[in-house]
């Protein structure tokens, strides 16, 4: 047995473990004012257990961690409904301009007219792209955009004396944030089934639709990647019953420059800057979830919105505003990137995005369908949902397929969602992947399908080549260890 250097257990050494008293990574100037008397000791803290590291150790530590991450810049993320498109680097440079980063939200408006102009234009263009009338850039993420929209529905209906509308309808294919949001809005959630074509079952919708319904939350194209051609009729059904149509705009990438939510009858839609509009995911944020609405709902938008007064820009409070959803105006730093993206695309660029996104997804569909079960046998839009049911007959689950893809150098697609597809595998290539990348991905999935037939064990025990193997999630949930502790044991 070799006694040479072992692979370091990086996870076992945190900054706290690397800490040594007296080290520092950053020097501060001495105090240049006369020191005031400090408060009495009982008001001060006695100890502060933060690590002490030199700068070189700090940098090496975080860089070592960064190398353990998969990222868009290292490879393809076929994650359905996430739109993990490439994040343009010029946006990073522009978002870091001191003329943007150095602005205090409360400084005099006259000194931030450039920022307000950017937000005002972005508001206008998002309205135009979606065919709606008024915009709030305030919500911090898609889920907060959903909450904003649902609260606006509630406020609007309350104003009209329609508090009796206590239910929100949600398709069985919906993303979990939809019912969670409806519940946060104080609504009861009723699930509406999808039909065999993957569209909203209109019979089911009709029976669920009564005077107690406030709204239907629809994703379009839906989470199966399918466009419901009956959307116009659905909108009519709702409006005739006095209910609103809410749109989850997560899948807008398929419709950019092609079709607009407002034209189809949507009343409120939220958008995801960190999906459709190319802003980086950051490992889990920050995103941005602006809300676009029909004119009659504009008074209910959260405050503030950017308005124009003569030649200058101002912050305005809509007359029946639901109030603030955040301390300030939204994720300006993220909006700068979205703005730059739209300036890069122009009108023609919007179409290039949706065209190529949809071609790419249909190409993947065509290449994979010989090996994987396609539950809804029709053209998809920008994403396609397969089922791993054929492979399960050999004891290989979608989870195993996902983990085996890691060995082939790919991030797994979205798995086990939407819930209405058994062993779901949801693939969204986006327009920023090349045909070669898609071919490599499809080749890998086809190889895995063969492995599932011929040597299922190699799939079931995957990944074999990742920095770490499958982790014990059961113990992590049963006996949670959620923070570093001095004695470096495994007790929490």
């Amino acid at each position: 047995m070799s006694s040479g250097p072992k692979t370091p257990d990086i996870g076992a050494r945190l900054t706290f473990d690397l800490s040594k008293p007296g080290r520092r990574a950053c020097a501060l100037p001495p105090c240049d004012v006369p020191a005031a008397e400090l408060p009495p000791p009982q008001l001060l803290r006695r100890e502060l257990n933060l690590p002490e590291l030199s700068q070189v150790d700090l940098v090496r530590y975080f860089l070592a961690l960064s190398r353990l991450n998969y990222s868009v810049d290292s490879g393809f993320y076929p994650l359905g409904s996430c739109t993990m498109k490439y994040n343009p680097k010029v946006h990073e440079k522009l978002a870091s301009l001191p003329g943007f980063t150095g602005l205090h939200p409360l400084q005099p408006l006259a000194t931030v007219q450039g920022a307000l102009a950017l937000m005002y234009d972005l508001q206008r263009w998002l309205a135009d792209i979606t065919g709606l009338d008024a915009v709030s850039l305030a919500p911090a993420a898609g889920a907060q955009g959903e909450l904003t929209g649902i609260l606006m529905v509630k406020a609007y209906l309350t104003d009209r004396g329609e508090e009796g509308r206590t239910r929100v309808l949600v398709p069985d294919s919906a993303h979990g944030t939809n019912p969670a949001t409806a519940a946060m809005g104080g609504f009861e959630v009723v699930t509406v089934a999808s039909d065999s074509q993957g569209n909203t079952d209109r019979q089911a919708l009709a029976s669920a639709l009564d005077d107690g319904v406030a709204a239907l939350m629809l994703t379009l194209p839906n989470t199966l990647g399918l466009f419901d051609p009956n959307i116009g009729r659905i909108a009519e059904m709702l409006h005739r019953k006095g209910a609103l149509l809410y749109g989850d705009g997560a899948n807008l990438n398929a419709l950019l420059g092609r079709a607009r939510f407002g034209d189809m009858g949507f009343d409120i839609v939220h958008l995801n800057m960190h999906k459709t509009f190319s802003t980086p995911h950051g490992g889990g944020g920050p995103g941005s979830g602006p809300v676009v609405v029909k004119g009659y709902l504009a008074p209910y938008l959260p405050t503030p919105v950017v308005g124009k007064e003569g030649e200058g820009f101002v912050l305005a409070t809509p007359e029946r505003s639901i109030g603030r959803v955040g301390a300030f105006y939204g994720h300006f730093g993220v909006l700068v990137r979205a703005y730059a993206y739209l300036r890069t695309l122009g009108v023609e660029g919007l179409r290039q995005v949706s065209d190529n996104a949809v071609i790419n997804a249909n190409y993947v569909l065509a290449r994979l369908r010989p090996a994987y079960h396609l539950p809804y046998d029709r053209r998809c839009m920008h994403e396609v949902v397969f089922s791993g049911s054929r492979q399960r007959a050999k004891g290989v689950h979608t989870l195993d397929i996902a983990k085996r893809l890691i060995d082939y150098g790919f991030h797994p697609p979205t798995v086990y969602f939407p819930l209405i597809v058994d062993e779901a595998l949801m693939i969204e290539p986006t327009e920023t992947e090349s045909k070669e990348a898609l071919d490599a991905f499809c080749d890998a999935l086809l190889a895995i399908a063969r492995e599932a037939e011929e040597e299922p064990q190699v799939v079931k025990e995957a990944p074999h080549t990742a920095p770490i193997g499958r982790l014990d999630e059961a113990t992590a949930a049963r006996r949670p260890v959620l923070r570093w502790r001095r004695e470096a044991g495994d007790e929490s």
Partner: protein, 439 residues
Amino acid sequence: MTLPYVPNTAADRQAMLAAIGVASVEELFADIPSEFRTGELGLPPALSEPELVRELSALAGRNRPVDGMPCFLGGGAYRHFIPSVVSEVIGRSEFATAYTPYQAEISQGTLQTIFEFQSMVCELTAMDVANAGMYDGASALAEACLMAAGVSGRRRIALLSTLHPHYQAVVRTYAFGRGLAVDVLPPDGLALSEEHACLAVQQPNFFGHFLPDAEAVGRAVHAAGALFVVSADPISLGLFRPPGEYGADVAVGEGQSLGSPLNFGGPYLGLFACRQEYLRHMPGRIVGRTSDAQSRTGYVLTLQTREQHIRRERATSNICTSQQLVALAATVYLAAMGKQGLRQVAELCYHKAHYAAQRIARLPGYSLAFDGLFFKEFVVRCPRPPSEVNRALLERGIIGGLDVSQYVENGLLLCLTEMSTCEEIDRLVEDLAEIGGSA
């Protein structure tokens, strides 16, 4: 003009359309009824990269960033020093362009940094558990109040009137959703009823001052059977007693001061920590430590059954994407500053604010609005309306304070961080003297 972000060539598209079995891309959009096909949109023409840089630089040039000037503005967003290592680390595209770490085996970088962040927030606040972060301090406070209502089954939320007004507004918005009532109580009239799920306070408060006896408040809150929610400035926690030591059940706060620029109000970072007994009610993502089959230490998202993707309408919150990269900035900031550095930053803020307050209080026509212990911010009563004072300061190339005359007559909320030099403070005092003198 092909976008640099779309690799497919016309030849690629031809080949792919053939493989799909259609003649043109139009056929792929056949499901969209023709009446919804869009015509012209009003976007300006596409720009190349050099043109884009010129346009955006011009836009940026129409703003006056505070970095170039003495600035005494606080009110929930603060100009603090950001060590260069922070931008170095969060600029790594392995962190910046990574997805949410659902596939743990290839996301250990993100997951381990979240575990670090959780650990640091617990240390700072002296609480048992922390989540991976929320949108901002205001929504973190709102979610804490909702959690208190869920845990206690009570329907009223009590807020101390000295909480940041924007934070109070956000709590109201979230409370509206759940049909909860919000009562704003004055500091000298703290009467909690059995219907109150929590009392939320801010330390230091909107005016920069601390509760004279936070522990007593905590006891009163608990006597009423409610939860004690404290929104704390994280820089202040480098010096002052943390909420966990004076009875807080939930500690929240705004993490922008920890390594993030002002960014015209966002993205910022909500800190959220609580007692062990509320762990399963806590919103947001949580990372736990575990191991793989080879006994290597690793990290995973855990207790996911609280969250929307599993519990759906019964989730603790609808939150999905949060503020990971901003939390990473905070983690690097706290590791870079460390135990000594954070204390030093806090002391500098403390001494500079007290120096400024002392000197301004001695100016004729100016007085301090409040007594008692303060940190980083304080309110000055001016001899003239604060709007005029600020205007005059701006003319002299200084960003003044926040006009709080709505709450305190002629009140100006001034903020001093480690970024203000003695020279700048002295200049402020001179200018205020002049401005006050010309009343």
